[in-house]
Symmetry: C2
Subunit: 112 residues, 2 copies
DNA sequence: CCGTCTCGTAAGCCATCACTTACCGTAAGC
DNA sequence: GCTTACGGTAAGTGATGGCTTACGAGACGG
């Protein structure tokens, strides 16, 4: 359910740079913006999207907003990816000739 | 290198549906399009992008093009995701009070 | 040989979205 | 108090890209 969001959010190169910037630890907005080729408001917008997707979390420290990574936000995406390995392994052998059984008189080895 | 591509390619909902449709086994284009709310040419375009990203592979069978999944295409994305877990685990402890050593007694309960 | 089914490609349209500048609230420093 | 640093938000713009219809090319059956 959230893996789709994570996918969409991390698809943007700049936003991914913001995200990866936080790998080295919590960081205020202006510090993130300094290392990037975009303006600070742009970074703010990206951080909002990332926070909304549960990929980062924000904490106020005086006038500063400290952003940090939330690895939990990646969990569902990781699970989704994992599901391809076992799922494919299984469904492959089972569905191999079921999916297509009609109109397949040719009888060649279709799958691997 | 390719994980960025996979990320961008799988970010689109329709394209992801095309991709997931192939989980159950190899499939010709028209069969994929039938189960989707978009036209067949749209599916063709998505398949082109997916193939270009190494996420599916195509095989000609007469007039039909049979598309099938390439789980290998997901490997780099998976690795990238994995890298967050160990990387964060490590850098976190080290940088924890270095980056922002200013009096940060309160942890957010990350790990020990 | 011709009609049909297969599918990819071209051209065009339209929505999404990332980025910009401008502005406003808030917290610390003088 | 005023000024400066920090950062979120609004409005407007430009480009990316996903979708459509129309067309062309190849394979098969009559």
């Amino acid at each position: 359910m959230a893996y789709e969001t994570a996918l969409a959010v991390l698809a943007d190169p700049t936003r991914r740079q913001v995200f990866e910037r936080l790998r080295s630890g919590p960081c205020p907005v202006h510090a993130i913006a300094e290392g990037l080729p975009v303006s600070r408001p742009a970074v703010s917008q990206h951080l909002k999207v990332l926070k909304d997707a549960g990929l980062v979390e924000e904490r106020s420290e005086g006038a500063r907003r400290i952003y940090s990574l939330r690895r939990e936000g990646l969990a569902e995406l990781r699970d989704w990816l994992d599901s391809f390995w076992d799922d494919a392994l299984l469904a492959f052998k089972i569905e191999a000739d079921r999916t297509y059984r009609h109109a397949k008189g040719r009888g060649d080895g279709d799958d691997e």
